[in-house]
Amino acid sequence: MTFQPELAAIRFGCGLSPVIAPPSSPQVILRSLDLPDDIATRFPVEPFELYLKRLQYQNRLRELQRKAKSDADRKEAREALQKLRRTTRDESTLWFVSTLGRRAWTQVPFRERLTQFWADHFTATGKGGVMMTAMASYIESAIRPNVSGRFENLLAAAVSHPVMLHYLDQDNSAGPNSARAKKSNGKVGLNENLAREVIELHTLGVSANYSQTDVRELARLFAGMSFEPARGFVFRENLAEPGTKTVLGKTYGKGPAETGDISAVLRDLARHPSTARHLSTKLARHFISDTPDPGLVADMTDRYLETKGDLAAVYEVMLTHPTAWSEEAPNVKQPLDWMGSALRALAVPPAQLKAIKPGKVRQMFLQPLALMGHNWGRPDGPNGLPEDDSAWVSPQGLAARLQWAVSVPTLLMPDLPDPRDFVTTALGSRATDNTRFAAKAAETRWEGVGLVLASPAFQCL
């Protein structure tokens, strides 16, 4: 079990490409994370700082609608709001195309995989109005720049982000003894949603040793975190809870509540041994196998603790461990990994991808992806996608993949490759007799290509 370029490109990258060579060593993969993020410029996604302008505009229009003196004025404001939502929704489909295009053409595919891994770990999206389509911008600004630094920085960026504060109902949570709560006669108060998920999902993990009191105390510490369209993150002192709070036995916030206490508790949670174990296990399960080698997980956990959560150091342990290169029981690609790797194997020209209209993006990509089990931008819950392979090899999921494979590539590329060559392009040394036979025997190019993409070898990492 040693490093193999092809396996590295599939397992830790976005699959094989006819034009981009696979990596030559684990060090090459690790060092690539230090390269400038060129592909993000070629396939842009709106940063959240710009997305905030849309929220500001929405607020202004809502205000105009409220204050309108005549029905005609009110109607005009309402129509402008509808148009804003429609254009934002349409533009967000183009950000999805960029997400796929990056996978097809990047020289640093490990960054795309890590971005999706951490975006899923910190699942958050909008719940109404223009916010509904903010997920891509949240990932671009909070997750993507932080995937190879200290985990505590990633954690702080995700947890304090307006989309997360909104998604997990933190933005209006008020400490029970806050100025705001006192004024409201008990009508406003704490909401413990974000605090619970930070402990249970983002850091310690549900099997760690913590109590309802810890959740409650963390919610008391978090009270005050909110956002405004004009400024992004804000700390509202009138929502903050005065006095000390004790999380996992450690006391925070002796004076008036402030953001420094929140940074401190997040740092302590990030460096906790349970967090180290939880994250190492999840990374190994995601990239290598549903049942990763316990020695690998232990080594990753140790390195995490030694380096106070330096993610690049943890990735290094994973990539240089012999069991990372085992071909026994490989994972099944998640739908986005699979679809992205199909576009990479086909080398769909960037101009072709960027020319797809929003309605077609939904029909050709987003709806099929939802049938495969990944409703992009509309997660079922903050726990993200399942890691178990059994979740992806279902009749309905496989039907959706097979149908997409035989129909969508030909719509994207009128001149599909010869399936007999494509077997090797897409699968390399993984090509089996059955896939070679199917590629040769298919009656049309598009079915030949589709059968290669739907084959078990292509669906596995």
Partner: protein, 408 residues
């Protein structure tokens, strides 16, 4: 009789087309009630997110209730039995109550306590065990029910939707599908896809089922013709998948299967995690639930009389409304039952009260009975299961207790 949904003509066409072994297929078994283990039907709907039982079935007769709920729970609930009242968004189900086809169970929960995680809570609800450490793996209680019945086949039970719930996972074969899925391929591609999937038995098994189901939904799997015909067929499939409400599609599909050879179906409805401005969220979720139940009743026709629908959630929510007009994760909650197999309309509960001293952890509705006991008694009534099978195999560690008398 409607069971030749999978028609003789369809079967012949398929065998000629695919030309390989269907020996394990339920299609080779003569379709009759004798081939299925029972005549009664069970539908389990998992309400993911934690339904606020205190909002849906409001204990308006409990003097402590009003003080807990200011501005978060629905006002003007619909009276049921004088003590409990129904959330107004469930008004469409009142005719079922009048007809004796709606019940509720209150102050129940799974054995899950203290951590209040959705995901562990749902896993435990679907596993049907006392805790997740018992090492049952991904084995669900409906699957263990099938394992106790010699006549059960894959077609007997359906898991519907894209979320692949654990409740039906396990050693007994079950069917999985979602009504939005369809497949259209050339006859040659159908043959070649089978060959390609032989490289991995997991994929081969899933493909077998996908082909059978895609071919039994009224439009054929294999289409001869050029690219244009194929594309137009596929675009039509995609359009069909988007028309009407998701609830209606799932209910129609479920009813179709249960009218034929299936006896058990499970799917889920999301949208119950109402931390903030609860009335907006729970109103939508309850509307979806009532549409689903009514569509099941309409779709099942005469079979409704033999059907029980159980709606179960991972936990209830905090007794007090929180600071943002919603409720946080709690413990005890409510279960709704619907169906023509129920004996009469009623709310079953050993009511613990909601004054602070009576609450679990001084915050949540105290569970006074294991929700599994109610599901167990319903299954005992529908399928004639032995008490020991329920207590040892299906719900290990459960004390079944007295019969709450749900069924006629």
């Amino acid at each position: 009789m409607t069971q030749p949904d999978l028609t003789r003509r369809g079967f012949l066409a398929r065998s000629a087309l695919i030309g390989c072994s269907l020996a394990a297929s339920p299609l080779l078994t003569p379709v009759s009630f004798a081939a299925t283990p029972w005549d009664n039907r069970l539908v389990v709907i998992i309400l993911r997110g934690g339904m606020d039982g205190l909002d849906v079935i409001q204990p308006v007769g409990d003097p402590a209730f009003a003080a807990l709920s200011q501005s978060g729970r629905a006002r003007k609930p619909l009276p049921l039995d004088g003590y409990f009242a129904l959330h107004p968004a469930l008004a469409p189900l009142v005719p079922l109550w009048t007809a004796g086809e709606l019940q509720a169970v209150h102050a129940v929960s799974t054995p899950y306590r203290n951590k209040r995680s959705h995901f562990d809570g749902q896993d435990l609800l679907e596993a049907g065990t006392v805790d997740l450490a018992a090492g049952t793996g991904r084995d669900g209680w409906l699957n263990r029910l099938l394992q106790t019945v010699p006549g059960a086949e894959a077609e007997t039970a359906y898991a519907i939707g894209t979320d692949n719930g654990m409740i039906l996972s396990g050693d007994a074969p079950v069917s999985r599908w979602t009504p939005e899925s369809d497949l259209t391929l050339s006859p040659q591609a159908v043959r070649l896809a089978r060959r390609v999937m032989q490289d991995d038995p997991r994929f081969a098994a899933a493909l077998d089922q996908a082909f059978l189901l895609a071919d039994s939904d009224g439009d054929p799997l294999a289409v001869t013709g050029g690219q244009r015909e194929m594309m137009s067929e596929m675009m039509q499939d995609m359009k069909a998948a988007r028309t009407g409400s998701a609830a209606q599609r799932v209910a129609d599909f479920t009813a179709g299967r249960l009218r034929a050879d299936s006896r058990i179906a499970a799917f889920s409805i999301t949208g119950w995690d109402t931390h903030d401005n609860q009335q907006a969220g729970i109103g939508r979720a309850l509307a979806e639930l009532s549409r689903t139940i009514l569509a099941l009743r309409d779709g099942l026709g005469p079979v409704w009389a033999k059907t029980t629908v159980l709606t179960m959630t991972e936990f209830g929510r905090t007794a007090r409304v929180n600071g943002t007009g919603g409720t946080d994760h709690g413990t005890g909650g409510a279960m709704l039952l619907a169906g023509g197999a129920l004996n009469r309309a009623r709310v079953v509960s050993r009511w613990p009260g909601v004054d602070e001293a009576a609450l679990f952890d001084r915050r949540d509705l105290m569970p006074t009975r294991d929700i599994r006991a109610h599901a167990g008694w319903v299954m005992r009534g529908l399928f004639g299961l032995e008490r020991s099978v329920l207590e040892n195999s299906i719900f290990p560690g459960l004390e079944l207790g007295d019969d709450p008398g749900h069924l006629a």
